[in-house]
Amino acid sequence: MMRIVVPIKQVPETNAVKMDEATGTMIREGVEAIVNPLDLYAIEAAIRLREAHGGQVVAISMGPPKADRALREAIAMGCDAGVLISDKALAGSDTWATSYVLAAAIRKLAGGAGVRSAPPTPASQSGIDLVICGERATDGDTGQVGPGIASFLDLPVATYVSRIEHVGEGLCRLRRLVEDGYEVLEVGTPCVLTVVKEIADPRLPTLRGKLRAKAENIPVWGVSELGVEASKVGLEGSPTRVVRIFKPKVARECLKLPAKDEQSLHQAVEKLVAFLQEKQLV
């Protein structure tokens, strides 16, 4: 029996983004919102663990009211429940404030007694065994919230997890993708994992899942329900501040040559090799 929390984020489709220049935050209205693609992998990993061990997977998300839709997508995939963390006071939170708030929500889910640090008893219904996050969100693209949540919860965190080999008896054995290979780690549970795409192929929502998701009651927790300090959330609680947004300059002048027949092909290749030789690349 395992209780797993999956924090997810609703993000804008990266191609259609608008920024509020004054506050430096994203304008979410009028842009198609999707579940952060990398969170789908976290959801999938969590559901597979529940299928193997029994238990419950709860998706949580901090966002504006319409993030409710992302949670319903998670439920349609197979999560058991969802919680929306939403409050005007949370708007403009940076990764520090976001991690702080999500940690508070997870603590609340764990029953208020704090996340258990003792080995879980099989029949236990309270407490959390795992928090599984996607490696990063495609809008902010920092990858900081997973480790931030772990830090606020005072839990160990394994990032870039590409395979969960075993969970049980208070331990999680996993593979972590690093620059030159894979670390095999043993982590005491409860712990936080951030996962990469290799972990599992996300399933599609089923029709039954969609019906269930439609009917599901998704509670909304705000600042007062979470008991978080107002000074630590939102724009005010964020140590970092966006001061300027600008479009990157278009990079380079491209020498573009056609290769539509044998002659132009050979000419183009000749020029390319000369170009590379000049730069001492060949």
Binding site: G148, R176, V187, T240, V243, V269, V273
Partner: protein, 331 residues
């Protein structure tokens, strides 16, 4: 005590200081000079090579603080962060920068949460605002669609990570003076609820991110079997092989080959894209390569906007001819 000083988080592997450390010294030196402050290289490990520590001074650090213990041999977030937090409390730096490596990207947010510090990831530009002395942190967001400049006005330290290979390593100045402080890690800071039980090295001949030349394949190669048609070119150039997200999602190459927003960032001397359209996601992972060459049958492919040289044609025709010509050039 007013926070002062610029720190870089150096990294070691098997006791040898890694290249990212020298890249960070370039950034750190620039910031320290602007702040008229000292530059410190902080490093955690076990039996770190003496000469490598001295080299950090040669390459610009005024001071090196090395905290050592067998338990710090490999990165584990709890002992590393406990040691780092203790150092922050003791020495009170104003700025800490680290590499956006698997270690930096895990350790820095973990520390920032507990240190009440602002942290900005993957900065491409770091500068000092003249009027305030604040660290200006510029980074891409929304898949590289925009650049954002970020400040941490009040909280200290100001923390930032920088992509590996986005900076030249600081040059050596032999005989440069500095202090090396080596301490054993206090045992009460070494607790860990994680342990490393094994390591499986990558089967790549050389790492994609360390390669001088990268050849990337995209949807244009049409099927998995065609990857082997590119092998002669990869070999002729002495390149590492990468892939677009499309190619990986289709199972043509495995995930460690993926270049882009949700894959690796590469900054080789030469990037050659074959049948890669150049989506924003992909560009985010390679657009800072020194020289970019693209072969694509679509003249309007996005990749040509960031390329220095392009051939509009069928890559299956181009590649064999290119291989021959390169072999001839190499003699």
């Amino acid at each position: 005590m007013v926070p002062k000083g610029v720190w870089i988080l150096a990294e070691q592997q098997h006791g040898r200081v890694q290249r990212i450390s020298h890249e960070l010294l370039t950034r750190g030196r620039d910031l320290a000079d602007k702040r008229k402050a000292d530059l410190t290289a902080v490093i955690f490990g076990h039996e770190i090579n003496d000469a490598d520590l001295g080299e950090l001074i040669d390459r610009g650090a005024d001071r090196v603080i090395a905290i050592e213990s067998p338990q710090l041999e490999h990165f584990l977030v709890e002992p590393y962060s406990a040691c780092m937090l203790a150092l922050i409390r003791e020495f009170r730096p104003e700025i800490i920068i680290a590499g956006a490596t698997s270690t930096g990207r895990t350790l820095m947010p973990y520390v920032a949460a507990k240190a009440d510090a602002g942290l900005t990831a993957d900065c491409t530009v770091l500068d000092i605002e003249p009027e305030t002395g604040n660290l200006l942190q510029t980074r891409p967001a929304i898949g590289g669609n925009i650049l954002a400049t970020i400040k941490t006005p009040c909280h200290r330290p100001q923390m930032a990570t920088v992509r590996p290979r986005s900076t030249k390593p600081a040059p050596r100045q032999p005989g440069r003076k500095g202090r090396i402080i080596r301490r054993p890690a206090p045992s009460e800071l070494l607790g860990s609820r994680m342990r490393r039980v094994d390591f499986i090295p990558s089967t790549d001949q050389h790492g994609l991110q360390d390669a001088d030349i990268v050849v990337a394949v995209g949807r244009g190669i049409k099927k998995g079997e065609n990857v082997k048609l590119v092998a002669p070119l990869v070999q002729a150039l002495g390149a590492a092989l990468g892939a677009s997200r499309d190619a990986v999602d289709r199972g043509w190459l495995s995930y460690p080959h993926q270049i882009g927003l949700s894959g690796k960032t590469v900054t080789p001397k030469l990037y050659l894209g074959l049948g890669v359209s150049g989506s924003i996601q992909h560009l985010a992972g390679m657009q800072t390569s020194e020289t970019i060459v693209a072969v694509n049958s679509d003249p309007d492919a996005q990749i040509f906007r960031v390329a220095d040289f392009g051939i509009v044609g069928d890559l299956f025709d181009v590649v064999p001819v290119l291989v021959e010509r390169i072999k001839k050039a190499k003699g």
